[in-house]
Symmetry: C2
Subunit: 201 residues, 2 copies
DNA sequence: ACATTTAGTGGCAGAGAGTGCCAACAATCG
DNA sequence: CGATTGTTGGCACTCTCTGCCACTAAATGT
């Protein structure tokens, strides 16, 4: 089976799992239930996901990847805040509303479900490497230099806070304003720490 | 049983667990083994620790608490970097060498043991609140203001990178220089992001 | 067209994680 | 001393997750 097919399958199961998690909690949802909802055997389910909580991974990864794509397209001459304002909206528009809802609901879930929070934090830490790949060249340093890793970590952390904030704000349905608020939240949070960065250059 | 006694018991079990984790890996260490090593029944062990990975919590918490104590004693007139240089060394000296070793070995372990990494990240996120309590007054803002949370998150993230770095560096035994390097690593990392902070004031 | 390899799937059994329940035991208090 | 309260350990049980194998289907060779 192709890698791409496998990813699609995982994403599909992920959507079912998240819906069940939101409805009954993580502890109240068994692997068997998720498998049944997704239409695969329990054995196959456990092959796709090593732990129950990692069911949220595909959906969240999709969000993180989208952001990383925008980030990679950041032209050198532009301020990051301006680039985000310009390039981030179309990305959000292009993904399906259901998935945006699902992602935000997962982020909200993580505040009451420690296991999901842990999975979320692990995922974000993996995303730091991608961030370092972008920031490294900007600082004329290798991506694994300590200064780069520090900047990437700081930026990732403020993005997490901004994301938590907007997820909380969008508890009652997602509006266009909420998402624009998200973009601005991120932009301003980033600019807050990037003062250190611009001085460093 | 007093709360303090319970904490001591947890810490004791924690030390045994960490030793076993380092020797055989997390997956290779059963709850029964830890319980036996610590001299309690398996049932009691599971009462003290809801998950196997949370065994690392007491030791790590001790480290985080020590840092938070130093942070709370940060006088308003001093730069943070100077305060750390001045007040952090005695704290490290006062804790037992075994525990310092154990903590560093846990941090190193987290790089190969995802479950421990997740526990570690969760712990650090809890510590962000303590950080916000210190930073809030400095910015003349409530501790739950978004700007404060952003700063706390950024600072916590850079401290994590610095800690990972020193843990890696101290793989072959801990020297006095390693620890001083740690303090300087932290100080410089913090000052790197705090430029944003000082401009904000 | 047919045999063979290859890869994914599901079922089953089992180890280990973690919980509920109860009996035993110790400490505390009247 | 008896009653109460809180901690412990043992037992049985559920659920998570894995190893193993048989089954199916697609791809490949001849």
């Amino acid at each position: 089976m192709s890698d791409e097919q496998r990813q699609r399958q995982r994403l599909d199961i992920s959507r079912h799992a998240v819906r069940l998690f939101a409805a009954q909690g993580v502890a109240g949802t068994s692997g068997e239930q998720i498998a049944q909802a997704a239409g695969v055997s329990e054995r196959t389910f456990w092959r796709y996901f090593p732990h129950k909580e990692s069911c949220v991974e595909p959906l969240l990864t999709k969000m993180v990847d989208a952001f990383c794509t925008v980030l990679h397209a950041w032209p050198p001459e532009l301020e990051l805040i301006d680039h985000l304002r310009e390039a981030y909206t179309p990305v959000l528009d292009s993904s399906s509303d259901e998935d945006v809802d699902a992602v935000l609901s997962v982020v909200r879930l993580t505040h009451h479900e420690p296991a999901l929070r842990a999975a979320y934090l692990m995922l974000r830490e993996r995303a730091e490497d991608a961030l370092a790949d972008v920031l490294g060249p900007r600082l004329d340093l290798p991506a694994d230099a300590i200064e780069v890793r520090v900047q990437a970590a700081a930026m990732s952390a403020v993005l997490r806070v901004a994301t938590d904030d907007v997820a909380q704000a969008s508890a009652e349905g997602v509006t266009k304003e909420t998402l624009e608020g998200h973009r601005e939240q991120m932009a301003s949070a980033v600019s807050q720490v990037l003062r250190g960065l611009s001085q460093k250059r």
